[in-house]
Each structure stands twice: as structure tokens, then as C-alpha cells.
């Protein structure tokens, strides 16, 4: 009860600060996923077209995924220094695998007969990609982005250790303070909340983009 009261007091006195960090946290995750998407979607398309690459690329992605985020961030910090760039770059690395994987699966799951019919109707390679394969794969690709952003929101919290700010900074403050449970919660609850909201919104977009409309 005491903690709850403390939490309410902290949140009411620091509402502006929490909101600023919340926004910053979200932007980090969003940028990380955005940059990852710019690389990972074309990569996914490429490995779907040239099957031999797929095993290599996907296992490389899995290896990256196994490195603890904190460790990776520490190493990347050596290159980018302290600050938000390190956090965004780390986020990007961790987002590449789910997006690539889903793009690959999405492209592969497009019915081969549909693709053959598309070519036989006289579509160019680019037209097949734009008019057939991407529209049919887009919801699976969106599912990849959804996974990536949820992971990204979690990893962004670690970004506080390299001076990137965000809700993680509030959590770190709480761990350093005596009796800081309320402060930790003030950082952790919005993080979890953000992840849930992101998941729901992306899930909704994913369904909206599903190619086969069911009335």
C-alpha cells in the first residue's frame, strides 16, 4: 500500500518527466525497427529469391539474437560512444532477425501457382513483386515488425546504461535510490504498457493488411 502511495506521489510530481522519457523510449524503439526494416525487408526478399543465401543469413541473425543485449550494447558503445545512437543501433541489430525471417517466410508462402500465373500473364519481375508477392506477404512481414517492436521496447530499457535515456533511466534511478521500488515501477509499468499497446496496434494493422478479405 505504501509503495502504491509512493508511486502515485512520484508519478503525479514527475508526470512531465515520465512522459518525456516515455516518448523518447518509444522513438528509440521505433527508429531502431525502422532502420532494421529498411535493411531487413529487402534482405528477406533477396534470400527468398536466392534460396542458397537463406540458411546463412538466418543463422547469422539467430547468432546475433543469442548475444545478451547488455553485452552487445557495451561493445557497440566502444564504436558509437555513450548516447542514444548506441541504443538505436543495438535495437536495429536485434530487429533484423525477426523482420528478415518473417519477410522470408511471407515471400516463400506466396502460392507458387499464383506467381506462375502472374508471370504467364505477362508481368515483369518487378510487377510480380509489387502486385503479387508483396501484397500477399505483407501481413506476415507486419507480424515480423510487430515482434521486432515489442522486443525493441524491451531492449530500449537497457539503453539507459549507455546514457540513452528513456524509461530505463527512471528504472536505473530507482535501483540506485534507497527504497526505490515506487520509482522502478514508475519506469517499468509504462514500459510494459507501451509494449502491450504496440503489440495490439500492430496486430490490428496486421489484420487490416491481410490480403484475403473475409467478409
Amino acid at each position: 500500500m505504501e509503495t502504491l502511495q509512493q508511486l502515485i506521489t512520484y508519478v503525479s510530481t514527475n508526470a512531465d518527466y515520465i512522459w518525456v522519457e516515455f516518448y523518447r523510449h518509444f522513438l528509440m524503439a521505433a527508429y531502431g525497427v525502422l532502420f532494421a526494416a529498411i535493411i531487413a525487408i529487402p534482405l528477406g526478399i533477396l534470400i527468398a529469391k536466392y534460396g542458397k543465401l537463406s540458411a546463412w543469413v538466418l543463422s547469422l541473425g539467430s547468432i546475433i539474437q543469442t548475444i545478451p543485449a547488455l553485452g552487445a550494447m557495451a561493445v557497440i558503445m566502444l564504436v558509437f560512444g555513450l548516447g542514444v545512437n548506441t541504443a538505436i543501433f543495438t535495437l536495429m541489430l536485434y530487429s533484423i532477425l525477426p523482420i528478415t525471417q518473417n519477410t522470408y517466410v511471407g515471400m516463400k508462402s506466396v502460392d507458387k501457382n499464383v506467381v506462375e500465373a502472374a508471370y504467364a500473364s505477362g508481368m515483369t519481375r518487378f510487377q510480380v513483386l509489387r502486385m503479387v508477392e508483396l501484397p500477399l506477404a505483407v501481413s506476415v512481414i507486419m507480424a515480423g515488425l510487430r515482434t521486432a517492436i515489442v522486443i525493441g521496447i524491451g531492449i530500449a530499457a537497457v539503453g539507459a546504461f549507455v546514457g540513452a535515456g528513456g524509461l530505463g533511466a527512471i528504472i536505473v534511478t530507482g535501483t540506485n535510490a534507497t527504497d526505490g521500488t515506487a520509482i522502478i515501477l514508475a519506469g517499468a509499468i509504462p514500459t510494459a504498457f507501451m509494449a502491450i499497446i504496440a503489440d495490439v496496434v500492430m496486430g490490428w494493422i496486421e489484420r487490416k493488411l491481410h490480403p484475403v478479405k473475409t467478409s
Binding site: 502460392d111 499464383v114 506462375e116 500465373a117 500473364s121 505477362g122 510487377q127 473475409t214
Partner: protein
């Protein structure tokens, strides 16, 4: 229209070619079925026409133009294509699917709408289907749309890869009929790949039977049934189909009964009656001394005129329908049934009587058709024939 010149396809540099030095000429408006066991190269041959598969050697000419010298994308837009798996775009409406090639050719919206409406009438589907999605349609309806998509840009040539293979037999049958009718109306040239002999016999103007990448026989369905090129073709047609096919090609001569009961025109009705009684028949064929057919007389005529007339000549019916030995049985059967005749005399070119086809002979043939050629039956159930 379409010509294959020594067309060869190798998938690997060694090994047997998938299609080996194939030569074939297909005329405009012709419906050609490629048929053969799986792996015989029929689908490969078809896909080389619109360059989904590239030719290794030789040439394919469409209206005298080498397809390898044309842009593959342009080429494909000018050739219709229908596949067994239909391959409609699941994210596009039926209308968008039908006029897909039109979209690629940058037709205006009005043109596309008009064409879609025009086409969907061809297959008797209501216009509001145009706004549905493929998954809302049954398999048969989807394939109708698949066919319409191939027709959209009005290509003179359409390639079809077992288009009705995945449909249930009833739908398949009605689609085959519909499509054959459509093809005749529109005068399209069709290259049709199938493994279903019944389908090929039903639809094709010409059947190309392939094995191991080579043409075994290319001929009309009738000719293939009548003269299978070799054992492979016979086996592929199947014994049953050859027997079933026989009524189509059997001539009257093959089932003619040898010696019909005859009488001369000068004979008296009394003699005629005696002959009938003697031979246990109810009708006699009247022939003159040169065996030329004059007419026939049956028991009723004798009965009615017994008191009035004396000779057969005065009573006999001269309006008699006769066939020659080389006329096709199927036509004969048709005529017998239509006229309700009990028999048909068989004559040679000079109208001399050589035999007779009776209803009993037809019944025998029917028996053979249903039970096989009878020989096997005798081995298995020797008593059946005696019954």
C-alpha cells in the same frame, strides 16, 4: 499458327533430354491435346511456347515469328494461360483477376469494366460476382474465371495445363462442354495438356501422344482409336476404350450376318409364306436373279393381301433402306433406331444383297461392349455364354 521445329529441351547437359527434337505444326483454330504419362515432356513442351521454360535447341514459331526473338513479357501478354491450380490472385477481386492482362497493358478503367462484364456473361455467372474475391467462389467457378482471365486480352492462342484436372467429375464435364463450345465460337487455337484420355478424346481436334520427350502419334481422335500407332498407344488408350471406341469405327461389314432369307419377286405369296414358316422368320428380302435388292415383304403384308394378289412383286415394299458394307456402324445404328426398322439389308455398290444387320446383331455388339470382347468371359465364367 504455331510451329515446333526440332525443339529440344535439356535440363542438364548430360542425360536424356526432356523434349527431344519435336516437330509439330498447329493450325489456326485447332484444338490440340498433348497427352502422355507423367514426365513425358508434355507440360515442358507447352511451357516453352510462352517461354516459362527456355528452349535448348530448335525453334518455336508463332505466326512465322521466332518466339526467342520476342520480348518474353510481351509474348506472354499475347498468349492465354490456364493452369490446373487456377492461380487466381487471392487479394484481387474477380474483376481485377479477369482483366489482369488489361491492367498490364494499361487499359482505361472503362475498358476494363466493359471487358469484365462482357466476359463474365460468357460463362453464365452473374455480374455481381465481379466484386467478390476468389475464395468466395467454388472450384468450378474459379476455373471459369481462370479461363476468362486467359481470354481477356483476346489472344489467338491459349495454353492450358490440365485445367479441369482438379475439379470433380460433374463440374469437369460441364466445364469441358462449355469450353469446347466457347472455343468453337471464338475460334481460338488451343494447346491443351492432359493425362485424361477421355478428356482428350472429347475435346481435341488432334491428339498428340508423347513418351520420353518424343511424339508417338499425332492424329485425330478417330484415327488414333482406329489405328493406334503401336502397342504403347494401345496400352495408353486402354483395352476398354478401344472396345468402346469400336462402335465409332466398326463398319457394317464386320458384324453383318451372312445369309438373309430371300425370295424372288415372281414367287407366289403362298411360297413366301412357306419360306417364312420354314426359316422361322417374319420377313423376306426380295431379290432378282442378279441378287439385286428389290424390296422386302413381311408377314403382315402377306396376310393383308393374301386374297387380292398372287405374286410377291405386287405386294412387296420397295422403299427400303439399305447400307453398304463400309458404312460406319454408328450411323447405321442411328438409322435403324430412328426408323424403327427390325433389320437393314447390306448391299454392294451395285445394289446386290450381301448380308443383313439385324437387331440381334446389334444386341450382340452391345453385349461385347459391356462385357468386354467375350473371350475373357468365356475363360472365367464358361457357363455365362450358354445362358
Amino acid at each position: 499458327m504455331l510451329e515446333f521445329k526440332n525443339v529440344t529441351k535439356r535440363y542438364s547437359s548430360q542425360g536424356r533430354p526432356a523434349v527431344n527434337s519435336l516437330n509439330l505444326k498447329i493450325e489456326k483454330g485447332e484444338f490440340v491435346c498433348f497427352i502422355g504419362p507423367s514426365g513425358c515432356g508434355k507440360t515442358t513442351t507447352m511451357k516453352m511456347v510462352n517461354r516459362l521454360i527456355d528452349i535448348s535447341e530448335g525453334q518455336i514459331l508463332i505466326n512465322g515469328k521466332d518466339i526467342m526473338k520476342q520480348n518474353p513479357v510481351e509474348l506472354r501478354r499475347s498468349i492465354g494461360y490456364v493452369i490446373q491450380q487456377i492461380g487466381l490472385m487471392p487479394h484481387m477481386t474477380i474483376k481485377e483477376n479477369i482483366v489482369l492482362v488489361g491492367t498490364l497493358l494499361k487499359w482505361s478503367k472503362e475498358e476494363k469494366d466493359a471487358r469484365a462484364k462482357e466476359l463474365i456473361k460468357l460463362v453464365d455467372l452473374p455480374e455481381d460476382y465481379l466484386d467478390k474475391y476468389p475464395h468466395e467462389l467454388s472450384g468450378g467457378q474459379q476455373q471459369r474465371i481462370g479461363v476468362l482471365r486467359a481470354l481477356a486480352a483476346n489472344p489467338p492462342l491459349i495454353l492450358m495445363d490440365e485445367p479441369f484436372g482438379a475439379l470433380d467429375p460433374i463440374t469437369r464435364d460441364s466445364l469441358q462442354d462449355e469450353f469446347k463450345k466457347l472455343q468453337r465460337e471464338l475460334g481460338k487455337t488451343i494447346v491443351f495438356v492432359t493425362h485424361d484420355m477421355d478428356e482428350a478424346l472429347k475435346l481435341a481436334d488432334r491428339i498428340v501422344i508423347m513418351r520420353d520427350g518424343e511424339i508417338v502419334q499425332a492424329d485425330t481422335p478417330e484415327e488414333i482409336l482406329r489405328n493406334p500407332a503401336n502397342e504403347f498407344v494401345e496400352e495408353f488408350l486402354g483395352k476398354e476404350r478401344l472396345i468402346q471406341g469400336r462402335p465409332d469405327v466398326v463398319t457394317v461389314g464386320q458384324i453383318t450376318g451372312g445369309s438373309p432369307v430371300t425370295i424372288e419377286p415372281q414367287a407366289t405369296l403362298k411360297t413366301a409364306l412357306a419360306t417364312m414358316k420354314d426359316k422361322k422368320v417374319d420377313a423376306l428380302l426380295v431379290i432378282d436373279s442378279n441378287r439385286k435388292l428389290q424390296g422386302y415383304i413381311d408377314i403382315e403384308m402377306v396376310n393383308l393381301n393374301y386374297k387380292k394378289a398372287t405374286t410377291v412383286e405386287k405386294v412387296m415394299e420397295t422403299d427400303l433402306f439399305a447400307v453398304t458394307e463400309d458404312s460406319l456402324l454408328r450411323d447405321t445404328v442411328h438409322k435403324i433406331l430412328r426408323r424403327g426398322a427390325k433389320f437393314v439389308p447390306v448391299v454392294d455398290e451395285e445394289n446386290r444383297l450381301t448380308g443383313i444387320v439385324t437387331r440381334a446383331a446389334l444386341a450382340n455388339l452391345l453385349y461385347d461392349t459391356i462385357w468386354g470382347d467375350g473371350m475373357e468371359l468365356e475363360d472365367e465364367k464358361p457357363k455365362l455364354r450358354a445362358l
